[in-house]
Amino acid sequence: MQAYIQAQIDKYEAAPVRLLHILRAIQSEFQHIPPEAIEQVADSLNIPRTQIISVIEFYGFLSHDRQGKYQIFVSDSITDHMLGKQNLMIYFAQQLKVNIGELRADGLVSLNNTSCTGMCDQGPAGLINGYALPRLDRPKIDAICQLIEQQTSLEDWPTDFFEVADNIYRIDLLLKEQITPGDALKASYQRGLTETLTEVDISGLRGRGGAGFKTAMKWRFCSEEAETERYVVCNADEGEPGTFKDRVLLNSYAHQVFEGMTLCASIIGAQQGFIYLRGEYLHLYEKLNAILAERRQSGLLGENILNQGVNFDIEIRLGLGAYICGEESALIESLEGKRGIPRNRPPYPVSQGYLNKPTVVNNVETFMAAAKIAIQGGQWFADVGTKQSDGTKILSISGDCTKPGIYEYPFGTKISQILSDCDAKNVLGVQVGGPSGNFISNQEFDRVLGFEDLATGGSFIIFNQTRNILEVAKNFTHFFAHESCGFCTPCRVGTSLLQKQFDKIVDGHGSAGDIAALEELCQLVKNHSHCGLGQTAANPILSTLQRYPELYQQLLKKISYEPGFDLDASLETARRLTNRDDANAHLVQVEED
């Protein structure tokens, strides 16, 4: 064990910032992080063992406890539920003879739930030893179980089990044609970098992660910092349930993304860039590394890029299953080999980001768009879209429609148009921007894509009339409680309280005051949480409360109050201790008048 761990430490140059990669390798080899490994890594990296323990306990794909030689995760996203995931999961567990959330006694296999894996257009989906397994169904599960029992190595599994489709259905400005590698950089150097930044400014490009900060302004702020050691970071941690467009962009437009990063580096004067790739996209890791190597070969990365005296390189750092790391300052913490806890702001990353140096963090789509703008000029982009939202937006469409996949639309496009294009029928509503975004009902399909109306990072989940909207809100509410990093009180405790209070009502234990209490709690979590996760965690409840109050009312009991816990169930231990089960050893939940 010691030798293997030492080899990993050496491979990652004993750099504390690469702790996640070292731990990923150890987890993959030993199916957990053994205590001896913690000591060895702490010693070699010269960091406290507590940093390693806290990282293990923070990230979903690391564990103290042993997992299976075949470690399976199945996505618990609402879109997977809608495709029959829950029954499929029971079937999977039966076939493997393992309980969900546990390791089989022989240590061969473990089966767990995980948050959205970014395969919503081809679910139900899972991960096996980190690699994506889209389009699960019973025959495929039968085959998988057989391969596992035979202990067939993953390399010898049918390759189509791991094939991830792009599913691009609508192309516009950005997806229409790929740029030729190098063209954006050549155009920028020829025009001048200052002039190119002006073009980015003219384009009106705003951050595509959802927040919509003006890209040119961010780059300019960073370039104006006194500190000259600067970094470029591409946020490829798209964890918002229902989002998968970055997966497609990195699979098929990676050159353009890297070119956008290199352009940014040239403008702000950065020498090092990172792609923070979500762990769920491990299947892209080797491919992206190969493209980076190719770019180094062609003089588009590395020393003296295109003989312009620009030095810049890109390293891929993998995440390990934590939604919060999509928040830019949490992402930076994670890049530094720590737990992904959002920082206090100010200072902002543009002045103190990675290693407290000025850092530009942009979404995959933002860099990809910037590269094309560098060639076509800003006006080309600004001519499309609306007043406050220039250009196009790439959507990840999933849920109840015949053609789930990638759609690029000009800003200002009506929701009704989108629904018609993807062939969605009898629609009840759409979740725009994922759980943290907005739910809109079928009375609102005249609303449009754009920062002035429906801003979105790209998630677009469609629900038809057969869906129970409260089940959806429940899934989202549990998701936030699961993903809360735990830093601040209102989110750490509040999201768990929201889950309890919401479940109380939905499970039929709610009474008159419970909805008001739920609403008050929503406001508290929303108004006082430290970062965007907590600030949006109550959105699924708030937006359904606003649109479907009658659905909630119907669930309430006609009594004035019912406690949030089950009185009779609480006596179970006492009954066992006293060996009683007579009538007097039971309590009714509410005394009738």
């Binding site: 406290p48 940093q51 830093f487 009180t489 405790v493 768990s496 508290l524």
Partner: protein, 235 residues
């Protein structure tokens, strides 16, 4: 002419680089807080010190004071929200003031009284948390930890050690000890460390000292937490 911020209608001078809570404390304005201690790097996690700055909620302990800020500190809404946040801390852990030897000296309890908190409001989590009585002189009762991070910071910033850390995610957050066994007795903590004495609640206690001062004669028995904090934290 020095720069000023305005808190609840009162003009308060500040120096460049000061946070809102630092300026407020100097001017004798109390903003409720638990994870903040002026001797340590601000943390901003308990959210009790939330104030409205030009209409936006900000943590007073981390947010820099800037010329012209209109700040709301004493409002009914904020007091109510702070009470709710305190109640969250109470239901998250297991806090039984009457049987806790920190009673009367506890900042969590002191803040709760200050905010007029009479019940826990929310359902309890009944978290299963452990005690670490392994050390001969120091006791950790994890039931009372509110994750203020002060022991972590004190050990790093003042003691030049690294005895404590925060681990876990979300509601499973927990305080961990830097030793091979995970027990306090095997760590390099000592009785004289700042970290040993910093805990605002009864989570880190010095053994055999709990009742040297009788109940009724303790810090917050004599003075309310706002007065104590202002007297102590005013530099």
């Amino acid at each position: 002419m020095s720069k000023t911020i305005n808190i609840d209608g009162k003009e308060i001078p500040f120096e460049e680089g000061q946070t809102i809570i630092e300026a407020a404390t100097e001017a004798g304005v109390y903003i409720p807080h638990l994870c903040h201690n002026p001797d340590y790097t601000p943390h901003g996690s308990c959210k009790l010190c939330t104030v409205k700055v030009n209409g936006r909620n900000c943590s007073a302990c981390t947010f820099p004071a800037e010329e012209g800020q209109e700040i709301l500190n004493n409002s009914k809404d904020l007091e109510q929200d702070r009470k709710r946040i305190t109640q969250m801390l109470f239901v998250e852990g297991n806090h039984f003031c009457p049987s806790c030897e920190k009673t009367g000296n506890c900042q969590l309890q002191g803040v709760a009284y200050h905010l007029d908190m009479h019940d826990n409001h929310y359902p309890h989590f009944f978290a299963n948390r452990e005690m670490d009585a392994s050390h001969p002189d120091i006791l950790i009762d994890h039931n009372r930890c509110i994750f203020c991070n002060l022991c972590v910071r004190a050990s790093q910033e003042k003691d030049d050690k690294n005895v404590f850390a925060i681990s876990g995610r979300g509601i499973n957050k927990r305080l961990i000890i830097n030793s091979t066994s995970g027990k306090l007795k095997d760590s390099d903590i000592s009785l004289n460390d700042c970290a040993t004495h910093i805990c605002p609640t009864g989570a880190i206690l010095i053994k055999r000292t709990g009742y040297q001062v009788p109940i009724g004669e303790r810090i917050y028995d004599k003075q309310k937490i706002d007065q104590v904090a202002l007297a102590k934290e005013h530099k």
